[in-house]
């Protein structure tokens, strides 16, 4: 079974190597080859999807391979997937062909290098999600920088060099401290980089744990990006070519949230419990800030970029709620954001290809010219604002209800502030739709825009299908995510127990507040010393 995952990880790289040998002048050969490779990867990854066993007794990591890689440095090639990683791998393999197809016409300059970079990037992304060795993870995580740096810097728009250097330096600077933390884990977990071993054996004092958590959290917070470390994102998104923006929004940002879910929280649960309020606060602030910034943008891509800051704030908020609903919603929202923001960037890119401008004011009333584009844009917008029936609703609902029920201090306030993001999201997205597609069409340049081409229909079809399918039938994906979510909940609960042994008066931290559900909070009854495993049957699953 492990072979299948290795094929998925390395097939794109092999494809890139083959592409390097194809003749430079034959642009269509490169496009077709990249598409064929990425489709092949997708179909192989379907084997992972159907082969994954989400039942309670199944092993945590499946499709495992564990062989030495750099034995003398103690680094292993250890890969495997849990449910969350599987979902993100599927997101990656599904987005890759879409992105390659979307760039068919856009990239005229050096297509060979472009597609090689994309395929290399795909291997690095899948590897990041699959890695179960800290050093291997770091290698994949950093290897992403090179192709992404080139994608933005070579094929981006006017201000690309500034944006790409900023992107590289921000991410690299934040992640080198994570390397130090990884080395610390290595030394103190019995000289091993293996994630599973380290997670079980690592013992650190609270002060050191806080530092290590901080180092991991910093690296991931830049990637997410969380306020106030988000400033690279609008620049990178705006300057990147459409394919780069889609990959960046669709997959790269998830590495940050995935990093919290997989590494920062399970490795240092006590520190995570201590600082969750701070992180949740920043997440809520990011939700509101991103939404407000989106309201005032003149540039479509910048608007979508700031909306990403807002949406990723939801993901972080749900994660920090530490309730089964919140975590599940957080995982689901990672996928939603990949689909809907990816879709927005795709359509914005199509408009830009036609009119060579990203400014909202250059458009207006084009729905008559491009009815199909307008319709699809509205559908994707609905998903982005979380209309019931679309995927966005499921994620946001789970996150907000999970936050409301959580034991975060002043959970209600967090949930209420988070909900403003939903409202503001509807405002800025619908305003965008209205300004771009409806109203009078004054600009003569907008009178003759061609509508959706067949190729573009193929690009957008998977996105639309995903939006509807994930909105109406979220259960299969939630099912796959459930074991990972339950395990993280159990881990955090265990950490809470340990903290309680040291400080018996500690109020409950993890799980849902039972009183809040019943709306009858008897003030005299103290909180139970050992909280019931509220995540046991995860009541919120499918509660939409």
């Amino acid at each position: 079974m492990g072979t299948l995952l290795n094929v998925v990880v390395f097939l794109p790289l092999v494809g890139a190597l083959v592409a390097a040998m194809l003749p430079k002048g034959e642009a269509n050969q490169h496009r077709t080859w990249a598409l064929v490779v990425s489709l092949a990867v997708f179909f192989v990854s379907l084997g992972l999807w159907f082969g994954f066993d989400p039942s309670r007794g199944a092993p945590e990591f499946q499709f495992e391979t564990n062989v030495p890689w750099i034995a003398s440095l103690g680094i292993g090639y250890h890969v495997g997937l849990d449910g969350v990683a599987l979902l993100l791998v599927m997101l990656t393999t599904a987005l890759a062909p879409v992105v390659i197809l979307s760039a068919w016409k856009e990239i005229e300059d050096r297509p060979k290098e472009f597609y090689i970079a994309l395929l290399f990037l795909e291997t690095a992304m899948i590897g990041t999600f699959a890695a179960l060795d800290l050093a291997l993870f770091y290698v994949f995580y950093e290897a992403i920088l090179i192709p992404m740096y080139l994608l933005i810097g070579v094929w981006g728009s006017e201000n690309r060099v500034y944006a790409t250097v900023k992107f590289f330096l921000y991410t690299f600077a934040a992640s080198v401290l994570m390397l130090v933390a990884i080395l610390y884990v290595y030394v103190n977990a019995g000289r091993t980089f293996d994630y599973v071993t380290a997670r079980n054996t690592l013992q650190v004092t609270p002060a050191v744990g806080a530092l290590l958590f901080g180092a991991f959290a910093l690296a991931f917070a830049v990637k997410v990006p969380m306020f106030p470390l988000h400033t690279w994102l609008p620049d990178a998104h705006t300057e990147a070519p459409t394919a780069g923006s889609v990959i960046l929004a669709g997959v790269l940002l998830k590495m940050g949230t995935f990093g919290f879910f997989r590494y920062a929280m399970p490795l240092f649960p006590e520190a995570a419990l201590r600082y969750r309020g701070l992180i949740a606060g920043l997440a809520v602030f990011g939700i509101a800030y991103g939404a407000l910034m989106s309201l005032v943008q003149k540039d479509m891509k910048r608007l979508v970029a700031y909306s990403s800051v807002s949406h990723l704030g939801f993901v972080m908020l749900g994660m920090m709620a530490l309730t089964a609903e919140g975590l599940t919603g957080s995982v689901y929202q990672m996928l939603n954001h990949g689909v809907s923001t990816g879709g927005l960037f795709l359509i914005v890119g199509m408009l830009k290809e036609r009119r060579h401008t990203r400014l909202i004011s250059d458009y207006g009333g084009i729905a008559k010219q491009v009815p199909w584009l307008a319709t699809l844009f509205v559908v994707v917008t609905m998903s982005s604002v979380g209309l019931p029936g679309t995927n966005g609703f499921v994620g946001e609902f789970l996150i907000l209800s999970g936050t409301w029920l959580s034991r975060l201090p002043s959970a209600g306030l967090f949930a209420a502030l988070g909900a403003t993001g939903v409202v503001l999201g509807a405002v800025y997205m619908l305003t965008l739709v209205q300004k771009v597609y409806f109203g009078p069409n004054h600009n003569p340049a907008n009178r003759h825009i061609p509508d959706l081409s067949v190729r573009e229909a193929f690009v957008l079809a998977p996105v639309i299908v995903a939006i509807v399918a994930m909105g109406l039938a979220p259960q299969p994906m939630l099912q796959i995510a459930k074991p990972s979510v339950d395990r993280l909940m159990a881990r955090m609960t265990a950490a809470e127990q340990r903290l309680r042994e040291a400080a018996p008066t500690l109020r409950p931290l993890v799980g849902t507040e039972p009183a809040a559900i019943a709306f009858a909070r008897p003030p005299a009854v103290p909180a139970p010393a050992v909280p019931a495993p509220a995540h046991g049957d995860a009541p919120a699953h499918g509660s939409h």
């Binding site: 090179i146 060099v161 590289f168 080395l183």
Partner: protein, 486 residues
Amino acid sequence: MPSGQDIAALLPFLLLVLGALVLMLSEVFLRSGGRGYQSGLTIAFAAAAALAVPFAPQQVLFGGQAVSDGFAGFVTMVVCAGLALSALLGRGWLETRNMERGEYYALALFGASGMVLLGMATDLLLAFIAIEVMSLAVYSLAAYPRRGQRPPEAAFKYFILGSFASAILLYGSALYYGATGSTLLSAMRGGGGALLAAGLSLILVGLAFKVAAVPFHAWTPDVYEGAPTPATAFMAAGVKAAAFAFLTRGVLAMVAGTPFAVGNELGGVLGLLAVLTMVVGNLFALPQRNVKRMLAYSSIAQAGYLLVGVIAASRPESRAQGTSAVLVYLAAYAVTVIGAFSVLAVMEKREPTPDAGSADAWDVSRFAGLASRRPWLAFAMAIFMLSLAGVPPTAGFVAKLSVFQAAAGAKAWGLVVVGVLTSIMGVYYYLRVVVAMYMQPAEMEEPAAAPPTVAIAIAVAALLVVVVGFSPEPLTAWARAALLRM
């Protein structure tokens, strides 16, 4: 009378000396037309010396003054690889400038023999001889073109400052002899007192000069810039490897032998040197637009990371990790830096004279748009830059990882943090070259085609960097097996 065993142990060194003599004599009998094979001969001797390494018995030589252990063997391999690659580079570079002479290769071989000897030395006197053999050859290589003002200036500066450092080293050795009654490194065992401390400090200063550690680095930028590019490449790879090999041996002997809590005091001194070298080297490299000068400052910064490895080797709990990390770093750096200098050699301004307007001879703007004109050359340079910056998946990342890992094993967290933070600066100035190549429009005249031998050198170096980046186990395992025998 040396036994056959001794000769077998010294065979790599002897082969290099033999090669130097052959090339020097051949120059007398040759007409200028038939010089093409000289670089080939150099590479053949370098390869022979490298091939002799696995067959060299591990033993003590010259009554304890030298040792042919796995560590020395590894250093010999690195030096030979550096020699062969820079000979390939030298062939193309010298030929296009009509400077191809046997002396160049003879000097390089002499230099390499000194480096190999230094890698084996366990005695201050022998080390001094080796350093002088190496340095005199390298001084002459720096001055080799004789045209223009820059090479002689570089060579003279190097010579004066280098001799000064050698004198300090010699003086330190004299004090050492006074304190211990011997020049063997092993004589430190049980020694102590102010005299020994003073001697060791002076020796350390002399070696710090050779490895270009801050504050003894001032010669590096001018010499690296002024010397002919193939000589610079050889210098950066070989001198650094040999000097660090002896430094590591010396530090290990100090830790093993002397009673004055060398672990702490020495660690403090070396730690200070390492921090200064990493910070200053990277800081000074930041504003350089001249790529050759940038590489010179980067070589200073890399010496800082190597010092971190030496410090890790000085702690008992991370001795094996530290020494092997130093070796891995030396190998990765040697290959990467020779590759980078080879690309630079192709790109540098050739006309009208080597030093006319040389301020812009290596300006980063010469690389603008290279990716669209010479995609493979640009790709190779990008690989070298990323490797120097320590970005995976390259050899440079493996080297940095193993050094920091060793330092983590020694619990030297301060050094690790300074190391990773300064490497952020590194990313900035290395990426400047990549930005120019890939993201800026071409403005200069079409770059000349790389001579075939230079192209081979670049291809081999780039391949090695990537292969080691993806599959480092052979290299790291070999370095781990290359044990030190004092």
